[in-house]
């Protein structure tokens, strides 16, 4: 798969995860989730509200940067995307660093709002393009946001699943384990197993992530890209609307 086709596949795949939502919020510096949210909004005929941090157009908040978090706690946000420098088999996220704390040899910016939104947004979709053993680890070095909580904790939200550049996993909150449900076109199961640092379940029927329809591709390359250009100009113009390279296998 070329980069562009994979990007389109991921946008489509993430958008599918928003079915039935009334309101999805997207954090800063998240072009693929933002594109997915806009695609899902177009497919919903405007019923899905999209709030994109960093956007002036797709952001109605008027009460300062606390409003997103208050809004989530009020139950007015149905879905959010989170990633992490490390994600482990219990869906714990690490956005802080690797190799000891606080003087981490590998240090990332910090936890942002993950520790909170992960607990309060009902459908948190984990997304990380890189699918490798250094990202998908058995146990994160630092828990920025915990994948699961004791049953008596107040936790209306949590992880729904994980989508990477290679595959899609569903997360079972009661078991605290991922199940591999989809491999992306052209990715072998053995490749996924080798690239995943944590143990996971295998769905009874391992599906292939459906490639976006021609209509979906047209939406991504047309109105979604046009809408996204204000927030992610490089991404929108260079990736989404660039004339496609010849695709030997029809897609990839």
């Amino acid at each position: 798969m070329t980069g562009d086709a994979r990007t389109e596949l991921l946008i489509s795949c993430l958008a599918d995860r928003l079915a039935g939502c009334r309101h999805v919020a997207v954090g800063a510096a998240s072009p693929i989730p933002a594109a997915a949210a806009l695609l899902a909004r177009m497919s919903s005929e405007g019923r899905l509200r999209v709030s994109i941090l960093g956007s002036e157009r797709h952001n109605v908040f008027t009460d300062g940067s606390k409003e997103l978090f208050d809004c989530a706690a009020q139950g007015r946000i149905d879905a959010f995307f989170l990633g992490g420098g490390q994600i482990d088999g219990q869906a714990n996220l690490n956005l802080v660093g690797v190799g000891g704390y606080p003087r981490s040899p590998v240090r990332w910016p910090g936890s942002f709002g993950s520790a909170y939104l992960y607990h309060l947004v009902p459908r948190v979709i984990l997304f990380r393009l890189e699918h490798s053993p250094r990202v998908l680890v058995e146990r994160v070095d630092f828990i920025s946001a915990a994948g699961t909580s004791p049953a008596h904790h107040h936790r209306p939200g949590g992880p729904e699943g994980l989508i990477t550049g290679k595959a899609a996993f569903r997360f079972d909150r009661a078991l605290g384990r991922f199940t591999l449900t989809h491999r992306h076109p052209g990715v072998a199961l053995a490749d996924i197993v080798a690239a995943t640092g944590f143990a996971f379940e295998l769905a009874a029927e391992l599906a292939t992530t459906p490639v976006p329809s021609a209509a979906t591709l047209a939406m991504i390359r047309g109105p979604v890209a046009a809408d996204l250009v204000q927030i992610y100009p490089r991404f929108a113009t260079e990736i989404l609307t660039r004339p496609s390279a010849p695709r030997p296998d029809g897609l990839t």
Binding site: G64, S65, F69, P102, S104, G110, S111, Y116, H153
Partner: protein, 277 residues
Amino acid sequence: MVEHLPKVADSCAALAARIEDGARLALAPDYSGCAMAVIRALIQRDARDLHLVGVPQLGLQADLLIGAGCVASVEAAAVSLGEQGAAPCFTRAVQSGAIMLKDSTCPVIHAGLQAAEKGVPFLPLRGILGSDLVRHRPDWRVIDNPFAEHDPILLVPAIRADVALFHAARGDAAGNVWIGVRRELMLMAHAATSSLVTVERLAEQDLLADDQIAAGVIPDLYIDALALAPKGAWPVGLRGAYPADQAALAAYAAAAAKPAGFARYLTDWLALPDWPA
């Protein structure tokens, strides 16, 4: 509106002089209102031992202050240069132990400021339990919700900054500051003991005279001093005024990737004869 005593200071240096060494200084993130011209003046006056609070995260302002050796500690949900990647001076200072780090998460910062705004010692907050942040923040508490059974909940302490420093589009002679929908700047001002502000321009009229404008104004009651600083947020942007100068930010990120590069960048930046307005 009634006129209050004017508060317009003469220069960014005058504002920087009001921030004492050792002060707890609340700063806005790069997407909000950064008083970059005062940050430069702080470095020029060789400020020391500042305790930065990111509202809720920090960007270029913090990286410059840390690189210049002005900072003793940082409390923030994150420090980064956004699209330009990691904040290099911050990363080095964390790894060398040169600064004390109080890793947080966005809503804790907001709640801590709201506690200060309300004059209460703490605020409760949902979520967060199970995060290693809680283990590393001995100043946070987990209690059983007194209104329920078996319901642990996090309490976070008030964050009272000595100074809130930020940049905004407009101010007036009395010291009223228009911030529009950037209400985190109002929260900072309410929560801090004193607030120092730079503005793009001075409005002729009283910003509180018209309700339509007043809705986006921090009243002078909270503002201790104001300085005019056209393009005062540069190279980061100011909503409604100018976007971030991505080329300048990329140049900074590239230079600051190595300590020597940062040192050269800082020397040049401090020596700029005029602010690039």
